[in-house]
Amino acid sequence: MTSATADERLNDVGLVRRLLIRPELGAVVGAIVVFAFFAGQSPVFRSADGIANWLDPAATLGIMAVAVALLMIGGEFDLSAGVLTGTSGLVLVTLATRYGFNVWLAMAAGLVVALAIGLLNGLMVTRTRLPSFIVTLGTFLMLQGLNLGVTKALTGTVQVSGLARAPGYEGARAVFGGTIMVGGTGFRVAILWWLLVTAVATWVLMRSRAGNWIFAVGGNDVAARAVGVPAGRTKIALFMTTAFAAWLVGSIAALRYTSVQANIGIGQEFIYIIAAVIGGCLLTGGYGSAIGASIGAVIFGMADKGIVFLNWNADWFKFFLGAMLVLATLANRLVRRYAEEVKH
């Protein structure tokens, strides 16, 4: 045991370090830098219209990034999350346009399908103990095939469209795909959904028993089980949460564009993971933040639209993506080293 004076000294260092190891810190710094960069060169970027413009992709990406962040804190990946947004949208539009479903009912059906796929992912991962990377890669490929195969068989093309004519469309569009005017600027209603999802996820993580379990199963699955945490159920619930988010995002997109391409969402799964990692999630699980993932999504939204505002070639977006990922992973490694370092 150390003496009282040595303890005081340790406390001071601890305070500074505690601020430094907040999982969101890297993302906050990154967001400020990226905002300053684009806002400095483009007046449109920092105008209300510009902000509404880049908050829109941030919102749909953010809903997914938050759900994926929870799953990653719980120690698992979901590579099928991106394609599942397409599957949910396709179910919605197909049922509403070809089978006469009311839009709300078609959305409910899409939700059931999405949750069933989430449940299946969760069951396969928890029962077989296979890496979720492999299991959900399988789901990803199967869904990709189903989305294209079924759409082609039904329509002869690679998209389903015509949702605007379906009964109940106007109401559903107002709730999920609409626009709200704030001081003369139109903000997408998806932004509200994104804020709600982030707030709920943060509350669950920090202030509920389930949150404690999520950190625990990701940090050390075996130790969590040993003290009575239902690790399997926790992970299955996380896969279903991701599926729910995919349904929400898929429905938002379908209602907004009234049609869905059969190949939508492919490749997005990695962007969700990258946003979560930039937000402070460790790839190894057990650590991270929902707010961080949301800020990670804001960074992407800003870069995505900012590059357009500056009239740059969109190829630079990919370069930016890679650079952010590497920087974030390096920062996270330092965090983990600190947190796991044993004091002798």
Binding site: L10, G219, A223, A226, Y338
Partner: protein, 253 residues
Amino acid sequence: MILRTQAIGKSFGSVLALREVSMGVEEGQVTCVLGDNGAGKSTLIKILSGVHRHDTGAYLLDEREVRLAGPREALDRGIATVYQDLAMIPLMSVWRNFFLGSEPRKSFGRFDVATAKRVAREELKAMGIDIRDVDQPVGTLSGGERQSVAIARAVYFGARVLILDEPTSALGVKQAGVVLRYIAAARDRGLGVVFITHNPHHAYPVGDRFLVLNRGTSLGEYGKADVTREELTALMAGGAELDQLAHELRRDA
């Protein structure tokens, strides 16, 4: 006896991991389980803590035969286990670890964070554990401190039997002494302690009964009056094997 096994056994496929082991632990006493690597210590505690089900023999709690469905049931019946390396989750704070699996709740299922922090701080203090800050990640604690927090947790949650899996094996002399002191503190609060170790020098000072395992079976259970530290050491290593080793290692010159 709070907890007792009668000729208990367990096999994994064709491997007989444990055969006919009888042991027990009394209130306010420490039963030490000694044995070399592969002696069956882990299998025994996994049966006691509900991780594995036994195949043969009987497992008695308060002299009534039980079959535990899992670790959760063991905990509910007052049997708490502190594992050697997976007692705690390194990236989580001390207070989150302290209440993991038994979180205090307010209305609407809210995790009562203020209570959790306060109780964790108080309970650690009551066991004489000096943690600077319950918000720090457990990963920043030393090995001995981690074991001590896990013991304090088990005591707080009303454990009647505390099973400790090699709590001192990875520790230095001083740290091991600290952990032995907490074992004695738990015993003095009336808990029955099952202390698994391969170090007779750690077991002898704190133990009341000693079960020696070798190659999956019991070499006998001894009261403290019936065995000396030297006899225990010899028994554990297999006396003849040790003599043979001494012979092989002897310098010829």
